[in-house]
Amino acid sequence: MIQFDAVHKRFPNGTTAVHDLSLEMPEGGVTVLVGSSGCGKTTTLRMINRMIEPTSGVIKVGGKDVTQQDAAELRRSIGYVIQQSGLFPHRTVLDNIATVPLLLGHGRKKARARAAELLETVGLAPDAGKRYPHQLSGGQQQRVGVARALAADPPVLLMDEPFGAVDPVVRTQLQDELLRLQKELNKTIVFVTHDIDEAVRLGDRIAIFRTGGHLVQCAAPAELLARPADDFVADFLGAERGLKLLSLKTLAEVPQGPAPEGGTWTLVVDEARKPLHWATKGAEIPVRPLKDGDSLLAALNESVASPTGLIARVDAAGVLTGVSSRDDIHTHAGQAHAEARTHTGTTRTTETEAAAA
């Protein structure tokens, strides 16, 4: 766990970057620090591994005050991923990843073997190891950045807008990968971004900062979206925050029935019973089938686009299991909101809090 206790940071030029911050970042969870530029989120992150020293207050990682430790050794025990990867241009990908194990004196052979292992973990081909960073795409470089941060298997991972410089498609891929990795690795992750959608997607808890280094609210995404602390938070979450909440709920509990027959529109399936399109006399409308794990938001979107208001539900193999109506989706969306308003949040929070306890 990472604890901030009454931490202040004032820079020599007089600006206060972080104002009286007390915050706990639970072990094994992703805490996202979010806010517009100049709100102190990056300063907060960088104080954890002493890239910036606090003016006053105490920061503890795993119960130990960071300022009481040797700065270089502390940094080796904390993974760090920077914007635009910050890879060493003169070292091969493999040697980049091996940086911290080498600093820890693990020996070149062992460090490289570990690096090769990590290439696979972050989804890169083995032959990427011999290349130099400039020979990789932005997304691949970012993966190397993550692998480098994981090399010495640190319990804590700091990520400073790691996916800020890649295009939206690659960004989504990298976010998925991070969630997949986190399921396996259970690191304590602190993630800085200015993108609220990214925060909602990745965070177990989201801390919203306001200019001047004030923490406004720290809560699970669902709670934040359902009960923003004030107008600033509500504005920051945006006008569609009701819909964003639906992105956190899955389709699993929405009831489904058999596909209608004999109506104006028919759901056409192939031989393997995989949905193809909605068909009527002389017209076909493509269908995007949804799985149980897809979000209520995706379901709502699909039902609005569907000519019948029905969405096609499939199993993991893509075989049709049934259809759900717009009304059923709406009912569940309403329930999700009611739940979020009354409870502390979704199951995701409860799990995190259980892990932290």
Binding site: I82, L87, T99
Partner: protein, 213 residues
């Protein structure tokens, strides 16, 4: 102007030893220049107030006429190779110091920050990150300093050294053009070969620069 080919044939041993002596003076000067410039450049790079002073000083040294430097050194080191090398070294400083400082400046802040954030201590960062990345700019300086030194060695003829420069005085005194032409050609060849060798060295030292994607 005709070349007396038989003179060249009769003096191959002399020419060889003069060429080596010439090269040795120049390379020693560049080597010593690097030894002095590296630490000074690191200081100039890290301590901003000293930067202008050090670069200014190397500029001032450069403006001293070459013959004057040798004359000034005579009371200290006499008519020796040492005097030649010291004089040449002083001239290499202006290029080597400036290029090394600029090389260190050219290392991206993001990369240095990454090294620090990974837990690399300052000295190791300098040796394994900053200097390697500064190498292309430093090597550009080394190439200029080397070619410049090779051309300057001849001036040391005034203090009885001067490598291939001795061929010029010899030729002028006897009004015999062959040694002068041979001296010029050999000096040029030396400069070209030394420069090519440095390009090859840089290629070997910077594998990451080879295959641009």
């Amino acid at each position: 102007m005709t070349i007396d080919w038989s003179w060249i044939g009769d003096h191959t041993d002399d020419l060889t030893s003069l060429t080596f002596s010439h090269l040795q003076a120049a390379l020693t000067a560049v080597f010593l220049g690097l030894l002095i410039s590296l630490p000074l450049a690191v200081v100039a790079h890290r301590v901003r107030p000293l930067r202008g002073f050090l670069l200014g000083l190397s500029n001032v040294l450069f403006t001293i006429p070459s013959i004057a430097i040798f004359v000034l050194l005579l009371p200290i080191s006499g008519l020796t190779r040492t005097t030649t090398v010291i004089g040449l070294t002083v001239y290499t400083l202006v290029v080597l110091l400036r290029n090394t400082v600029e090389g260190l400046d050219s290392v991206p802040a993001k990369t240095k920050e990454a090294a620090k954030a990974m837990g690399t201590r300052p000295l190791r960062t300098l040796l394994t990150v900053e200097l390697p990345l500064a190498l292309p700019v430093i090597m550009a300086g080394v190439r200029i300093a080397t070619v410049m030194s090779i051309s300057l060695v001849s001036v040391a003829t005034y203090i009885g050294d001067g490598g291939l420069g001795q061929l010029f005085t010899d030729g002028f005194q006897r009004d015999f053009p062959t040694p002068v032409i041979v001296g010029v050609v050999l000096t040029l060849l030396l400069a070209v070969v030394a420069d090519a060798a440095l390009v090859a060295l840089q290629y070997v030292l910077t594998p990451w620069k080879r295959r641009r994607a």
